[in-house]
Symmetry: C2
Subunit: 311 residues, 2 copies
């Protein structure tokens, strides 16, 4: 039980909070916009942290969450949205130098997994699979109470699993990744292609329809929109079956906006998962849950990382 300063480098906001001992609520916290006119993100981050630094207390470590790609073993932000000057930026070394305490870095999806395991839906589980389904598909894995990081710190990039070798292109440029089917982007791509091909729908063909708009249309009975989510759910089931065969976890936790689509996504997901698992034993006592930490997953994950590293 320690005092930890947690930092969440988000695309929209930089957040910082100090946590003490076993208290879930922060002692102090604050946030600022990520984007600024002047390229001085690190100076602004230092000011933010100094503002929430707990007085008359010893801080044991700083934990940092950043959207990938990061090099967690060397504490380097390879790049991050909306802070152009952070290219191969050694954030933990700079923070340690300034504040005189150890600092640790991981990507947001891995830290969401760690946060959910320690403070959220995954409490009490030792083997956790976390998937965020939003613009992309990201993953994080806990094995026997340890975060899976990998030798280059690039483990659990589960959205980039090939499930259809000749499938549509993923945002990364490779064909047939899970993300190309089951992310918001994948849903939007499918609908745009079908509309362009003359498929009937209540959605307009001339403008871009967001995954959210498509979900609304599906709830109004639009067949194309319903099918788009069914395909996303079916491939999500294929992907999760692969991950059960690989990791054999006791819980699968879903975060991210698209994962809040309810039966629209999860009816086909459940059917597909049940069909694709190659032995029914994987599903015995398997919990499928929704993420509980919401906007705080970055901060609580960064806190959990620092606590984990200090053990």
């Amino acid at each position: 039980m320690r005092t930890i300063v947690a930092i969440d480098v988000g695309g929209t906001q930089l957040r910082a909070a100090a946590y003490q001992h076993d208290q879930l609520e922060p002692l102090t916290h604050n946030r600022i916009e990520t984007k600024a006119k002047e390229p001085n993100a690190f100076g602004r981050l230092i000011d933010l942290i100094e503002g929430i630094w707990p007085k008359n207390m010893i801080v044991d470590a700083i934990g940092v969450s950043s959207p990938g790609p990061v090099d967690p073993h060397n504490g380097i932000v390879i790049m991050t949205p909306n802070i152009k000057e952070w290219r191969d930026f050694p954030i933990t070394a700079k923070l340690s130098e300034h504040f005189g305490v150890p600092a640790y870095l991981e990507n947001d999806a891995n830290l969401a997994a760690l946060g959910e395991w320690k403070f959220g839906a995954g409490r009490g589980h030792h083997n956790v699979l976390y998937l965020t389904v939003s613009t992309g598909v990201g993953g994080g894995v806990i094995i026997e109470d340890r975060l899976l990081q990998g030798i280059h710190g690039l483990a659990a990039e589960l959205g980039h699993t090939t499930v259809q070798a000749n499938g549509p292109l993923c945002g990364c440029g490779q064909p047939g990744h899970l993300e190309a089917f089951s992310s918001g982007t994948g849903i939007e791509r499918f609908v745009a292609e079908q509309l362009k091909a003359g498929r009937e729908s209540i959605l307009p063909v001339e403008k871009k329809n967001s995954a959210y708009t498509i979900a609304k249309a599906a709830k109004q009975g639009d067949t194309l929109s319903i099918e788009a989510y069914q395909i996303a759910g079916t491939y999500l089931g294929i992907g999760v079956a692969n991950f059960l065969h690989a990791f054999d976890p006791s819980i699968v936790i879903f975060g991210g906006g698209v994962s809040q689509s309810g039966p629209l996504l999860f009816d086909s997901f459940n059917e597909s998962l049940k069909q694709r698992v190659f032995h029914p034993r994987y599903l015995e006592e398997l919990v499928i849950a929704r993420a509980e930490l919401g906007d705080n997953s970055g901060l609580l994950g960064a806190r959990a990382l620092a606590e984990f590293k200090l053990q």
Copy 2:
């Protein structure tokens, strides 16, 4: 450093050996046929073990390797080839009862991974991916010097990864698994289908051609046979890219007969892997190696398991 009795329950032979301290060669060892006219496999196994049990020494534990499926957490052989009476057979409890020492069980592919990590091609690595490519495709994974087992003991069933959702059927009945493309069975299936469809080849259409025969035909320039191995290698590359994205290991070790096909398989594998990895960093300092333990991987893996559990 301990004294361990290791047992390898193979489809053809039951083997047992006693290992001491840090010596790679066994103190004593013996083997018998797995199949027998009388269904008394456990009695025969006990006799075999008693024959190699080291005299005047304390044995610390027994390790057992068995072809899957097994329940390693409860030490139960769910089923095993050529020993029909072992259905849900509590082998570790029975061995412990008889010999008065703890006993541990795992499946052969996981133990090959553990054995290669401890005694073979994976020495010095902390994150190991092991794949056996033979009749089927099996996997084993070491993460930070620990065997990945999973909550039901069913982790690392990597041959049953869907890489082509609408692909040909795997032996398990599911479509598009890695095993359906890259195993000996997959290679044989492809050739049989093509021959039946009238494809030209030096191979006979009327009889079953083994993966070994097909490899020989490929070396004589048979186009169909060459293509069969190319497809196997290409999908093996897709599968391994998925596993790098999931586990991010520092070494990939190949065991099994089909993996000894050389450039016939690995030229297309290497090309496919390089193409399919979604970030070149995964390949930085990645070692691709051949398994070193050969026929002894079961015994040495079972020994490594017992040592790992006694830590």
